[in-house]
Structures are given as structure tokens and as C-alpha cells.
């Protein structure tokens, strides 16, 4: 057992070491710095590894790997690879997932934070958070056997017959959807369900953090409930809501299992949401273990690199947006 510091004379060697280390503050600080630096090193290491390991594919295809094309090739036998169908599939499904999830997620958050009776709040919050805890493979299975045939297939037929006939927008809704419902639409909707809880939970916390005085002030000026929410609370929590959206988008971009199970895994699909498609995470998960050639492996790693860059860019963009919003109205950005 060591003696307590008080009992040691000032000149004792142990006491001197303790003083030099600010009684443990310095090692603690060092430890924290080490952990923080580790995160940065890890980031750089992952990026560096993806960059180095994809060199074969990068030198073979250059920028043409990423270029949009109407007749994409992903041919492991003849070593011809283009990432466009996967890039397009990931971006389209994530975009629509956010589009669908944003109003629903914000709606749930407003209800939970502002309008919900107290007895319902806890069970409802708990249920929403439970949605986020369901493993994605379960979403995939449920999607294949219940959601796709019951909801997506009929919805796809309906969209094909209505929006599909409209010029310009119709290009995104050209049918027919496969009878099983496997399509980018299915992937978007499954992703929507998966990211709604993320958006709802973060946005709810944002609303709860808004000071009561804001609401009281709005009400005192004669604002209705709707006006308070729409004109005071949402502008106040803008940057926080944006953060929620970015979190959701991050999950949508990287989601692998559920998407693989419902998207159809076809590189031939057109631009339409109702076609079967492919995503970047799916092709890696599907083909990496049994890659045919070295170039095939390299091309898959390059897709990983692109996904990594997209996520990175998105985070930088999000930081920038949050910073912009905060700069415009510093007093509103505390939430």
C-alpha cells in the first residue's frame, strides 16, 4: 500500500514526481490525447490502405471508372469494371430515403417533444428507439417476405401507372416493377424505415433542448401551436436537425445487408426507382470473398475508397452547413 500524499515530506521523491505530474493530470491528459490521435491515425490508415490497395484498378481505369454510362460493365471474367451502376444506386436510394424519412422523422420528433401526452411519451420514445436497434438482416428478411410483396410491389405498380406517365419525372418511375418488388424503391423504403428512428431521436433531443422561454415568448405574442413550432422551434433547431439528417444519411449510404436483400443486385437497371439496382456496399459484400482476379479485388477496394470519400465529403459538407447556419444566427444555434 502506498501512503497518502499528505503524509509524505515535500522533498520525498514520490511527492516530487506527483507534483511534476500535476497529481495525475498530466498522464490523464496524455492518455486522452493519445486516444484522440488514435482516431485520426485510424482514419488516415483506412484511407491510405484503400488508396494503396486500389492502385491496380485506379491505374487501369482512371476516371472512366466513375463516369456515368448507359451500358455499364462489371465483368470479372474479362476484367472490365465500371463503378457507375453502384454509385448511382447508392446515391439514388439514399437520396430518396432521406426525402421520405425527413418529414416523418421530424414529425415524430415534434410530436414527442411538443404535443405528446406525458403517459404516451416514454413508451413511444422507447418504441422509436427500438426500431433503430433491429439488426439490418432482420429488416432484409421482413422486407423480402412481407414488406416487398405487400407494400412495395403494389406501390410500384401504382407509381408506374401514374407518375411514370408524367414527362421528365416519369424517367424515375418507369415500370414495370419486378413482381417480387425487389427494386431501388424497395431499398429506399427499407432505408427510410431504418433511418427514421435516428432522425427522430436526434431531432427530439434538439427540440427538448430549446429553452421554454422561446415557446412562452411565441405564445405570448399570440402565436398558435403550429406557428410556434413552424416559425420558432424549427428555425431555432435548424443546425441540430441538419445534424440528424447527416447521421441518417451516413447510415443509408453504408447500409449493406438489408439493401443487398431487397435491391435486386442487377447492374443492368435503368434510371428508374422501379428497376432492380445495386449499391456500393452490396457489391463489396457480395463479391469480395470470391473475387475472380486481382483486378477484380482492386476494383472492389476502389469502390470502398469512393464510399469512404463520399462519406468524408458529406461530413465536411455537414460541418460547413452547420457552421453557416450558426454564423447567420448565433443566438439561434445553441440547440
Amino acid at each position: 500500500m502506498l501512503k497518502s500524499p499528505q503524509s509524505l515530506p515535500e522533498t520525498h521523491w514520490l511527492a516530487r514526481i506527483r507534483r511534476a505530474l500535476h497529481h495525475g493530470d498530466r498522464p490523464w491528459q496524455g492518455l486522452l490525447i493519445l486516444v484522440s490521435v488514435l482516431v485520426i491515425v485510424l482514419m488516415l490508415a483506412i484511407g491510405g490502405l484503400l488508396w494503396v490497395d486500389s492502385s491496380g484498378s485506379r491505374s487501369a481505369f482512371g476516371w472512366s471508372f466513375l463516369m456515368p454510362t448507359a451500358t455499364p460493365h462489371w465483368d470479372p471474367v474479362n476484367d472490365v469494371f465500371q463503378a457507375w451502376p453502384f454509385l448511382y444506386g447508392t446515391l439514388e436510394t439514399s437520396f430518396f430515403a432521406i426525402l421520405f424519412a425527413l418529414p416523418v422523422g421530424i414529425g415524430i420528433a415534434i410530436f414527442l417533444a411538443e404535443l405528446c401526452p406525458a403517459w404516451l411519451r416514454t413508451p413511444l420514445t422507447w418504441m422509436v428507439e427500438l426500431l433503430a436497434a433491429i439488426p439490418s438482416v432482420v429488416y432484409g428478411l421482413w422486407g423480402i417476405f412481407v414488406f416487398l410483396p405487400q407494400v412495395v410491389a403494389p406501390l410500384g405498380i401504382f407509381l408506374g401507372n401514374t407518375l411514370g406517365q408524367v414527362p421528365i419525372v416519369g424517367a424515375l418511375f418507369t415500370g414495370p416493377i419486378p413482381a417480387s418488388g425487389t427494386s431501388r424503391l424497395a431499398a429506399s423504403l427499407i432505408l427510410t424505415i431504418m433511418i427514421v428512428p435516428t432522425i427522430a431521436a436526434v431531432a427530439r433531443d434538439v427540440f427538448l433542448a430549446i429553452p421554454l422561454a422561446q415557446r412562452e415568448a411565441a405564445k405570448a405574442l399570440g402565436a398558435t401551436e403550429w406557428e410556434t413550432i413552424w416559425q420558432v422551434l424549427i428555425p431555432y433547431g435548424k443546425s441540430g436537425i441538419l445534424g440528424a439528417v447527416i447521421l441518417g444519411l451516413g447510415r443509408a449510404l453504408g447500409e449493406t445487408m438489408a439493401v443487398t436483400m431487397v435491391i435486386g443486385n442487377s447492374i443492368q437497371g435503368g434510371a428508374s426507382l422501379l428497376d432492380a439496382g445495386y449499391s456500393m456496399a452490396s457489391i463489396i459484400a457480395n463479391e469480395f470473398a470470391e473475387a475472380v482476379s486481382q483486378l477484380h479485388t482492386d476494383a472492389l477496394i476502389e469502390i470502398g475508397l469512393i464510399l469512404f470519400f463520399i462519406t468524408l465529403l458529406l461530413n465536411i459538407l455537414a460541418r460547413f452547413l452547420v457552421w453557416q447556419v450558426a454564423r447567420q444566427a448565433p443566438q439561434e444555434a445553441r440547440a
Binding site: 462489371w74 470479372p76 423480402i144 419486378p178 447492374i267 463479391e287 469480395f288 470470391e290 475472380v292
Partner: protein, 399 residues
Amino acid sequence: MRKNLSVSMFVLFVAVLALSACGPAATATPQTVVQTQVVVVTATPGPAAPATATPLPVGSVQITGSGATFPLPLYTQWTYAYQFVDPSVVINYTGVGSGAGKTAIIAGTVDFAGSDSLLSDQNYTDGKDLQMYPMVAGAVVPVYNIAFKPVPTPEAGKTAIVLPKLILDRQTLVDIYNGVVTKWNDAKIVALNPGLVDYLPDAAITTVHRSDGSGTTEIFTKSLTSFSADWKAGGASSVEWPGKGLGGKGNAGVAAQVIANPNSIGYVELAYALSNGMSISQLVNKAGDTITANGASVQAAMADPAFTFTDKLTATIVDSGVKGAWPITGYTYIILHTTSMTDCVKAQKLLEFLKWAQTDPAAQNGATTLGYSVLPDAVRANVLAKLGEVTCSGQPVLK
């Protein structure tokens, strides 16, 4: 007091050790006990019984392998049964995919690899002394889900019409996957199926393929390549599929897509199709014979004298031309280092296991029960002879 405690802790520790040592036998369910007895009884006259005078301690030899998922159920069963034959050996096989298995055996991180696909020349150079050994064969079958036109209700006193199985020939299967034959009532399909003329629907064919790279896809696409020059995508564990097909992950994913999409066709392993009661298409083989996929027709393909083995014991057995042979079949292999294994005890145990798997009747029956086709005698003799050539430190491993 403290001394007493440590003594009792030691006693407890020894007791736990002793318990865990006899764990497998002690905790086995009645069913596995029966299996144990069968295995032991049938193995006794064989060469697999531990040859060493003083048996090694239980679980003292750890052998690891990884690779193809196609034979995973079989290897799991074999390694489980083998711990009752030779308790000193623990064999772990993980299904990580043929490609990953090949990489692992070349890098020397595993003792053996499983693979459905062949090693490339570069692999042989990198791995120095690799040798492949066929273990069992499997078949891949086209499965379909056609929404047939309604069968008229039978008149009183007559039995209802039962629709016959769909029949396809090699060219038509290629045409369907190429998107050339697009409807189920295409003249080519109708001509092959006189019994279905009135019932084949005027509906578009949806093709389903494996989205994950797999040995199943390799066997199937190699067969298509052999069936017709029209198949341009080649044969590999993943290929660029022509047409607007759907991809499903694993046998289960393909099956789910075929079941969910009326008027679709896909391909799965025979064992999977049988155990899930799917509609399996018959195929007209190169000899013009209409074949039903089953153990006998796969055996016939393996016995085809046209399929000769290379000195690496590999053979591509697709598109057999003999009567009664199923045309879409393939071997699954074990890969070993033949001269550079350094742990001779481990090498001996591993080879004894492989020999047991090929010669023990219970092991072979297990393979058949799981839907695999065991090697014909001539091929097995080849495999055993090649296993006998493996050396460790210059000495033959199997005596």
C-alpha cells in the same frame, strides 16, 4: 487460510479441466451417442484408428482449414464425427469462400483449404507445392416458378391433369439467360414440352442468379459456356450477367426470388432444391438424353471417361456426353501443401482424417445423405494414391 483457499482452487481447477476434457462425450445427446458408436464400429477395421502406440492427449492436435462454403455442411459433419474416431485431433473448418481459402493456404495461415474453383498457374507458383484433391461432387439445377394457365377441372369420373416437369435443352437454357428467349411460350420451349403446350403462359421470363461470388455460379456458368458458343459472359464465380436478371444472395436468396417472382427461373444446388421442394427443370444433355437431376445422374457424369484428371487431380465435369449424365456438375476440392508441412504429427493427423473421410462407409453415407455425390471408386483410388505421396521432412506422411 489463504493457503487452504489456493489448494481448494487448484483442486477445483483440475476438476474443471477433467470435466471439460471429457466434455464432448459427456454432454452428447442420445442421438450423437448412436452416431459415435456407428462411426467407431465402422472405423475400427479401417486404417483411421490412431496408429501411434501411445495415444496423444485429447484435443492436442489443432488443425485449421478454411474456404468454400459449398461443402461446409459436409466438412462440419465429418470433423464432428472424426473427434470420436481420433479424439486427439480438433479440426476447425470455416466457410469464408473459395477465393479466401486459396489465399489462406498460399499464405500458410491454414493447414488446408477448401475450394470449388481451380488454382491458377500463378497460385501454383506462389504456393510452391500445392495439390488439389477432389472430395465430393455436387450438382447445380435450374429451378422455375411458372404461373401455368389454369388446368381445366376434370370431368366427372376422370382424374385431374398433372402437369409434367419442364424440360429444357442446353441451347434453350443459354438463350433464356442471354435474354434471347424471353417468353415462356417461346416456340423453342413449346417444342421441348409437348405436355405443357396448352399451359405455358404468354409471360416474360425473369432470370435469377447468385449475386454473391460462389462456386455454384462457377459450375453453372462454366456449363453454359460449354453448352453454347452464344454464352459470352464466360464461367467464373461471378460474371457479368446479360439481360435484366435479378440477383439473390446465397441459395436461399435465389430461391426466395424465384418463389416471389411468378414466371422466373434460377439456379441452386441440387441438395438445396430437393430439401426445399422446388420445381427442378429436366435437361436434355449432350447425348440427347432427358435427365432428371439426382445422385445417380451426377454419378454418371463423374464416371464419364471423357473427363480425365490432370496431374493436379483436377477435372472439369460439366456437359457430360454420356447417357444418363446430369450436365451441370462440379467437384469440390481440398488443397494441401505436399512437401512443406513442418509439423509432421499434424500432417499425419490431417491426412488420416482425409483418408478416413474417403474410405469410411459412415462418412461416405453422410455425404450422400446431405445431397453430395461421393467419388467413383477409380477417382477415389487416385485421390488416396496422391495423398500417399505427401511428405513431411522428406518422409512419407501416411505409412
